[in-house]
């Protein structure tokens, strides 16, 4: 039996799924997340915590920062990675994607190709990180979870995210292609 021709291998492990399948399943797990952890899915908040840990590792301190002043934030920082649900989930996303890629024999290391890509990654990353903090989240937290939570802030975020994406597309075509 050639596994590559097996119907279920192709369906679940090999072939790309339609976008709508992704939408339904992501929604399912979003709801599971809210029901089981008491909070919706979020990605970028965790990254600020990672930043704080990295900063502390090189001798810095965020204890006087307003952002980390709350009791909850202090507890998270002190508890470390292994007790931080959001961190575990973010790492899970990376590993889940890795597993998906390997099971479909699609894993390939794609090295950086040009200086344009380096600048794009640095600039893009910084913009996303900063923007997510002042906007109270990223495409998952502020947008997906915000709208699902029936918060008007989610919709406002959506409008400006869309405008930003248009502006970003113009920059992309002009400078990064």
């Amino acid at each position: 039996m050639d596994i590559k021709k097996n119907k279920y291998y192709k369906l679940w492990l090999k072939d790309a799924w339609p976008y709508i399948t992704g939408a339904v399943l992501l929604s399912l797990f979003q709801i599971v997340t809210l029901a089981t952890t008491g909070n919706p899915w979020g990605v970028s908040g965790v990254l600020a915590t990672w930043g704080a840990w990295m900063y502390e590792a090189v001798g810095g301190s965020v204890d006087k920062w307003y952002y980390f002043a709350s009791e909850g934030a202090q507890k998270s920082l002190e508890g470390g990675l292994i007790n931080h649900g959001g961190s575990i989930r973010n790492i899970g996303i990376i590993i889940g994607a890795l597993i998906a890629t390997l099971l479909s024999s699609g894993f390939k290391i794609k090295k950086l190709k040009s200086w344009k890509q380096v600048v794009a990654a640095v600039l893009g990353g910084l913009l996303m990180g900063y923007g997510a903090r002042i906007g109270f989240g990223c495409n998952i937290g502020a947008l997906f979870s915000g709208i699902a939570s029936l918060s008007l802030s989610g919709w406002v975020y959506a409008v400006f995210l869309f405008l930003g994406a248009i502006f970003g597309s113009k920059l992309l075509v002009k400078y990064f292609m």
């Binding site: 790309a16 890629t101 699609g106 894993f107 390939k108 794609k110 890509q117 075509v173």
Partner: protein
């Protein structure tokens, strides 16, 4: 009937699609464009766009994480 290869390996999305669109504009009806990609998004959005435009499209997986999208310009 010309065959043109477009190497988009290592490009971030949506660059393979934009490059493919631009290249196909320069080509004649009946020509074949072969887009080489290693981006999983592109193996979906390039064929989707090409089919929407009415062209004949075939996807070939040529290696782990590498595909060739073969587009025959129809109109």
């Amino acid at each position: 009937m010309k065959e043109v290869e477009l190497d988009c390996n290592g490009e971030a999305c949506p660059i393979p699609l934009v490059k493919a669109e631009n290249k196909l504009k320069e080509m004649e009806i009946g020509d074949v464009l072969i887009v080489q990609i290693d981006h999983s998004c592109a193996m979906k959005n390039v064929p989707e766009w090409a089919r929407k435009e009415g062209h004949n499209v075939e996807i070939e997986e040529i290696d782990d994480g590498e595909w060739e999208i073969i587009i025959e310009k129809v109109k």
